[in-house]
């Protein structure tokens, strides 16, 4: 059995009398691709912010990459990578500048930076774009570059918040190939998506409804459990029960 890299126990976050995340308990192992699904407003972003050490829980516990979410948040940040659809790279910096900036923030030294940069440029086939502004790259390339930058420092876990939104179907599949490669290298993938076919690519999937985790299992077992044909059906059945409507 692989080492547990995310462990939460009754993790809860309240804003005033609103419970955004309500007693969630789950484990994620090393190298696992873990799909974190839920309707808009179910509490996914709040939960993710706690797991990344950006928001202090109201109660409950969580250990991320061996560190505590209450008082070891700086260690957590050094051991994770993060990318989202909304913010990933600086558009007004070149490809190389972005790699150097993020590599530097993640603590790589100059020697490592040089090697990693060349390796990355070659892997993504961006030789001709090294010195171009990120703003000029097609969205799919940006997202592939952003993901590669987020795992440049070989983190234990990478958090991906809707990484493939709006990306064309071929690039979306190339992106998932990068995810598989990273998982095979031992990096744990924690990913949210609105594409239900992508839920099938995860080893396990959790579905959040109104701040609680309503289901957590492999896609095959979830479909059996709900006698559903697809993950789409499973999701609809659970999410339709939701009472709350606010984000």
């Amino acid at each position: 059995m692989n080492e547990v890299v995310i462990k939460t126990d009754k993790l809860t976050k309240r804003f005033g009398d609103f419970t955004a995340v309500d007693n969630i308990t789950f484990d994620v192992s090393q190298s696992e691709i873990f799909g974190f699904l839920g309707a808009n407003g179910a509490g996914k972003t709040t939960a993710m912010r706690m797991l990344c050490g950006l928001s202090t829980p109201t109660s409950g516990d969580a250990i991320i990459a061996g560190f505590d979410v209450y008082n070891q948040t700086e260690n957590i940040k050094k051991n994770i990578g993060y990318m989202s659809q909304k913010f990933s790279l600086y558009e007004d910096l070149t490809v190389i500048e972005n790699i150097h900036l993020f590599g530097g923030i993640y603590g790589l030294d100059n020697y490592q930076l040089k090697n990693k940069t060349d390796e990355l440029i070659e892997k993504l086939g961006l030789q001709g774009e090294r010195n171009k502004l990120v703003a000029s790259l097609p969205l799919g390339w940006k997202q592939k570059l952003a993901f590669s930058v987020a795992i440049l420092h070989q983190p234990k876990i990478v958090f991906l918040d809707e990484p493939t939104g709006g990306v064309d179907p071929i690039t979306r599949r190339q992106f998932w190939k990068l995810i598989y490669d990273a998982a095979n290298q031992g990096i744990t993938i924690f990913v949210t998506t609105h594409y239900m076919d992508e839920a099938e690519y995860c080893n396990r999937v959790s579905i959040m409804v109104d701040g609680k985790i309503e289901a957590l299992d492999t896609p095959v077992k979830l479909k059996q459990m709900f006698s559903a044909k697809s993950m789409d059906d499973v999701f609809l059945r659970l999410a339709r029960k939701a009472q709350r409507t606010s984000d």
């Binding site: 808009n40 690519y201 339709r240």
Partner: protein, 303 residues
């Protein structure tokens, strides 16, 4: 009768060809989909048709009016919901609705019947600031504001992007109801699964039209037999399939891989099963399946 007609429209931004000689027509009462990823040119096209931007070349008409000469008439007869939330965040739900009705010189009451089914979902929050609404509710309010003057044509630019599966489903149910009221709808989306809910669709990529047809028509024209493939180890299956022979295309698609053969016959299928068994795969399932719109889109992109 064509309510929207687009003839050889092109648009270039410095070094990006956003639209490249695009032509199509939307008939009265149609629910018509523009299906494509980010950067396909969908928004540029919407901005040209709603008279907010000029094309470099080509002609376009809405309701028989020219988008350049008759822009004022067009603006009075269409509803437009841009991709980015564009209502006043510092006005309440109710205030936004009244504001947009007033712009068209009518009262909310006059056309309330048209928006009633949608507005009822957000009415409990009518005194809330629009900026404080959730994604799904913002989208419903924006649709109400685009409809309040009873337009004959509705332009919806990516109304469901970033919206969860449940809200997406509800939104499409609303569109089907509006269509029944006789409103012509042009809607864009990056979600291929929504294409099947349209009467006709245009598949668009990098400013060029890949195909125009009914969803069923596009699927029918898929040139190869398509198979679904899975085994107990999907992770390895993708890698092993890269080395398999006689494969025309193969990519991941949810629970299965979708593939087609160079030479498709019983022997080829047996050979593939044997090869995968040799590679150590168990519980191999290979079955013929119907391609879907996303399969067709990938095929057209590869050309």
């Amino acid at each position: 009768m064509a309510i929207i007609s687009v003839e050889n429209i092109s648009k270039k931004y410095t070094d990006i060809q956003a639209l490249d000689n695009v032509s199509f027509q939307v008939n009265e009462g149609e629910l018509y989909g523009m299906i494509g990823a980010d950067g396909a040119g969908k928004t540029s096209l919407f901005r040209i048709l709603t008279t907010l931007m000029l094309a470099d070349k080509g002609k376009a008409k809405v309701n028989g009016w020219d988008v350049v000469k008759d822009y004022k008439k067009i603006r009075n007869s269409i509803g437009y919901m841009p991709g980015r939330f564009s209502l006043y965040q510092d006005l309440t739900v109710e205030e936004n609705l009244h504001f947009f009705a007033t712009l068209f010189n009518i009262s909310v009451k006059k056309n309330y019947d048209l928006i009633q089914d949608i507005y009822i979902h957000i009415e409990p929050f009518k005194t809330r600031l629009a900026g404080k609404l959730s994604g799904g509710m913002k989208q419903k309010l924006a649709l109400c504001c685009a409809l309040i003057h009873r337009p004959s044509v509705l332009f919806l630019d990516e109304p469901t992007t970033g919206v969860d599966v449940v809200s997406r489903k509800e939104f499409w149910e609303m569109l089907c109801k509006l269509k029944k009221q006789g409103i012509t709808i042009l809607v864009s989306t990056p979600y291929m699964d929504e294409a099947t809910l349209c009467d006709r669709i245009t598949l668009i990529q990098s400013g060029k039209i890949l195909s125009i047809d009914t969803p069923q028509g596009i699927i029918k024209h898929y040139p190869d037999s398509m198979y679904g493939l899975k085994s107990s180890n999907m992770n390895m299956l993708i890698y092993d399939m890269q080395k398999a022979e006689n494969i025309k295309s193969c990519f991941a698609f949810g629970e299965y891989l979708h593939l087609s053969f160079q030479n498709d016959n019983e022997a080829a299928r047996d050979e593939l099963r044997n090869y995968l068994t040799e590679q150590g795969h168990q519980n191999i399932e290979l079955k013929q399946i119907m391609p879907n719109i996303e399969d067709c889109f990938i095929k057209l992109m590869e050309k």
